[in-house]
């Protein structure tokens, strides 16, 4: 009998992590202790490549998006420290090279390839531009614990949130102008808190002990806990936003 699907309790593995093992950043960034499998020059025109997917000068497309992780697709090293303007610039460059509309007068095969590649690029951009999602993704690549497996948050965090929840419920009950103002400032507070956690996460990634180092699992757990707190805060922020918009 056919039945509705269930979500697996424990995701088996991380597909990107498995595929991205050999890839890493290139161009302008040379992260220590990594083997770069990403080509640095276009095989056709020999110009330097900003990303391994498309050549910015001769517009040649390299259909290998599946082989790279999100960072590599954008020609970036695996790091939390991404300059947003630079990321956006790279995104626009990739889109100019890969969006199906740019292949309008080419054959069907090219167009289909462009559909696939730009979907990968869009996916990568949505992950990389958001610091929280970027951190989750990076943790996955580094083989850290996933949220479904490890639900802990930093000590004292949940107790503190009890009070915040109460405030939100109270405001929901009587949403007058002063309550709205209060919620807007609470939301700003929540964002600040989240940013602070993300800063800690970024720092932890920057000094992440190498594979095999006994201290590594502890650091990954610390990152996990902070990201769990961020997810919780994001949930509250969305609740407040919905409340204020309606």
């Amino acid at each position: 009998m056919a039945e509705s699907p269930n979500r697996p309790a424990h995701p088996l593995d991380a597909p990107e992590a498995a595929a991205g093992g050999s890839a890493c950043g290139s161009l302008g960034h040379t992260p220590a202790a990594s083997i770069c499998a990403v080509p640095s020059r276009c095989v056709r025109c020999d110009e330097p490549l900003t990303t391994p997917l498309v050549c910015g000068s001769c517009r040649t497309v390299f259909p290998a998006a599946n082989e790279y992780d999100h960072f590599a697709r954008f020609g970036l090293p695996r790091t939390m420290e991404i300059d947003e303007r630079d990321l956006e610039r790279r995104y626009l460059m990739l889109s100019r090279g890969l969006h199906p509309d740019q292949f309008a007068v080419r054959g069907t095969e090219d167009k289909l390839l462009a559909e696939q590649l730009s979907a990968h690029v869009n996916d990568a951009f949505s992950v990389l531009k958001d610091r929280f999602r970027r951190a989750e993704y990076l943790l996955e690549l580094e083989g850290g614990p996933q949220r479904a497996q490890e639900k802990r948050t930093p000590a004292g965090f949940l107790a503190e949130m009890l009070e915040v929840n109460e405030q939100i419920e109270e405001a929901r009950g009587a949403l007058d102008d002063s309550a709205r103002k209060q919620m807007a400032s609470l939301r700003a507070e929540i964002t600040k808190r989240r940013d602070a956690f993300l800063a800690e996460v970024a720092q932890a990634f920057a000094s992440l002990p190498a594979q095999g180092d006994l201290r590594r699992p502890g650091v990954l757990l610390k990152i996990r806990e902070r990201l769990n707190a961020c997810a919780y805060l994001e949930g509250l922020s969305v609740q407040i936003r919905e409340m204020l918009v309606s």
Partner: protein
């Protein structure tokens, strides 16, 4: 060289086409009659002929049961999707009453909204082909950004039924931003506020050196200027009831059409003036009623409708993570944005004066033309990056929705989720694909089901099924499912519950092609007959009006020409009717001039405002969606 790719705005109340000219600028295509706009009205005359556009609109009052307005509101819908109001305002019969794509029963035949839209598309394309001098076959068609999957699919199907190759389904606000971008709008964050005849969209875009990137979109796929008309008509009907107009008359489909048309006219007039008059005169029913309507009262009637656009605007900004102060420009699109109260609300909301340099009625078609040119290989430096407006996901055990692609994800998009079985030895999984923002599947739009069969027997939770959603650059969805251990696969291009299957579309395309020629002659004949009826009715009223002031010779000449038209109408030759009408028009010119002057004088002295002066006035004013039917204007078929 192949015929150019045409950009088409397939609107709720009006449709039109545009092309990029030799100067690199898009322009609306005017038909041989000088009109760019084709009213989105289809009328089914006796004998099976189909009349589209202005002529169909003229038939509305006389033949309301066989004249279809606003078919766009029915696209991709089941009967259960229609609101009570929508249902009560459609005089025709719907079939079936169950959950599949609804059909209209007209003169004993069933039509899907897709087929009726195809008639409109055909008319638009034929008019364009006549101007271009080549047969247009490739098009870009715009849709409201907030259309769901089944509505977008239905639009694609309408194009196919019309025998067209639809190169792109393009979101209307995005199209409008392209037109403005080409018109010199500066780089920055732009909000497009698009209130059309039947749909509302708001999109937030970032324009940066030729790349138009949509950051967020929101809207209401069932809110537009039509609703303004309805609100006025409803108010009038209530008052007429109170004034003693019998219920049977108030339910008369012909009267409802007259009321709707009068309400629309009043709305447009109030964009220019502070007061207007509604005159409802139906001798057939013994109804004579009039009232003045002040702009302030009109605004209080439609205020709740305008307010409904505010939430989507806030949500779009919030999704784009922007504050109103960060917006550089607000652009107005759609006929309903002529309403001053709408403009004032938008200005208040964003704290800046909105742009409306380009004609809000044409700007979507202009943008479609730009994208059409791009898909021909032009405008290499221009690029549109759009998003999917609504979240997509699949129902999980227990009825919740697991979101696979969240709203405002850039397209093309691709995302996977893993699922597993719920019971031991479960050999098949049903994936119920849903679209919408609600948590439970039953509250979202059901798009269809994908069944993965042949999973080898395993304990519950063991199989690993990857479900992958791919949205292409038209915004259309494909879903695939694969079990990893066994490699069993299933793939569907989602055929929405309310959509047409590929077989149905193929059949309709063939049917349409088989009848193309006879349909064409019959349609032209029916259009010209409808025109002739209209002209004769106007003529007779004028002759009565001018009684005694016209010399006998002219009068007899007119009478002869009139007889000629009546004879030609009884015949089967479209050219015969056309010729007779031309002759009548020539002969009747002195009469027309005489009555126009009289009417104009009366209007000035404030005694009467009849249809003639109204349309004459509106021709000079930049008013929206006017009928354009001057005193004796006849569409030359």
């Amino acid at each position: 060289m192949a015929a150019p790719v045409l950009g088409i705005d397939l609107g709720t109340t009006n449709s039109l086409a545009a092309l990029v000219g030799a100067d690199g600028k898009p322009a609306a295509l005017r038909g041989l009659d000088g009109e760019a706009i084709v009213p989105s009205v289809v009328s089914f005359a006796e004998g099976g002929a189909v009349v589209v556009g202005r002529a169909a609109r003229r038939r509305a009052a006389d033949d309301p049961m066989h004249t279809v307005f606003s078919v766009k509101r029915l696209m991709g819908k089941g009967i259960e999707d229609l609101t009570e109001v929508e249902r009560s305002h459609c005089p025709y019969e719907f079939v079936p009453a169950d959950g599949s794509q609804l059909r209209l029963k007209i003169r004993g035949r069933e039509y899907t909204p897709q087929e009726i839209s195809a008639q409109i598309l055909r008319e638009v394309v034929n008019r364009a082909s006549a101007v271009v001098g080549e047969t247009v076959t490739r098009v870009v068609i715009t849709v409201p950004a907030y259309f769901d999957e089944s509505q977008k699919q239905a639009t694609m199907a309408a194009g196919q039924i019309a025998g067209l190759q639809v190169l792109r389904i393009l979101n209307e606000p995005t199209a409008a931003s392209l037109a403005y971008g080409l018109d010199g709008l500066h780089d920055g964050v732009v909000v497009v506020y698009d209130l059309g005849g039947g749909t509302f969209d708001v999109s937030v875009l970032k324009i940066e050196s030729g790349v138009f990137r949509v950051l967020a979109t929101n809207g209401d796929a069932a809110l537009g200027g039509d609703d303004f008309d309805r609100a006025i008509a409803e108010r009038c009907a209530q008052e007429m009831r109170a004034a003693g107009v019998p219920e049977t008359a108030l339910r008369d489909p012909g009267l409802l059409q007259v009321l709707r048309a009068a309400a629309e006219r009043a709305k447009m007039e109030l964009s220019e003036k502070l007061e207007t008059e509604l005159v409802i005169s139906e001798d057939r029913l013994g109804v004579r009623w009039r009232r003045t309507l002040a702009r302030a009262e009109f605004e209080s009637i439609v205020a709740p409708l305008i307010e409904r656009t505010v939430g989507p605007c806030r949500r779009a900004l919030s999704d784009a993570e922007l504050e109103p102060e960060q917006v550089h420009a607000v652009v107005l699109v759609g006929g309903a944005t002529y309403v001053p109260a709408v403009r004032a609300r938008v200005e208040q909301l964003f704290g800046r004066k909105p742009y409306c340099e380009l004609n809000p009625m044409e700007v979507v078609a202009l943008g479609a033309a730009v994208q059409a040119k791009k898909l021909e290989g032009g405008f290499q430096n221009l690029l549109l990056l759009d998003v999917t407006p609504l979240s997509l996901g699949t129902e999980t055990y227990g009825g919740a929705v697991a979101k696979v692609i969240p709203r405002n994800t850039a397209i093309p998009a691709r995302a996977s989720e893993q699922f597993t079985t719920f019971t031991d030895n479960q050999t098949a999984i049903v994936f119920h694909i849903c679209q919408g923002e609600r948590e439970l599947a039953k509250d979202c739009r059901s798009l269809g089901k994908l069944i993965l069969r042949g999973i080898p027997g395993m304990p519950a939770g063991m199989p690993r099924v990857d479900v992958t959603f791919h949205i292409d650059s038209d915004g259309l969805l494909t879903v695939t499912a694969q079990e990893r251990r066994s490699g069993v696969k299933a793939k569907v291009e989602i055929v929405p519950k309310h959509g047409l299957s590929l077989d149905e579309i193929t059949r309709l395309v063939q049917e349409a092609a088989a009848h193309a020629k006879e349909d064409f002659v019959a349609a032209r004949l029916a259009t010209l007959r409808a025109d002739a009826e209209f002209v004769l009715r106007k003529l007779d009223a004028r002759v009565a009006d001018a009684a005694g002031r016209l010399d006998a010779e002219t009068l007899s000449e007119i009478q002869t020409a009139r007889d000629g038209v009546v004879d030609a109408m009884a015949g089967q030759s479209p050219d015969g009717i056309d010729g007779a009408l031309h002759y009548l028009e020539d002969v009747a010119r002195p009469l027309v001039e005489m009555t126009m002057n009289t009417v104009a004088q009366r209007a000035v002295s404030g005694k009467l405002l009849d249809e003639v002066t109204q349309s004459a006035e509106r021709t000079k004013a930049a008013a929206p969606a006017h009928d354009g039917s001057g005193p004796l204007s006849v569409k030359r078929g």
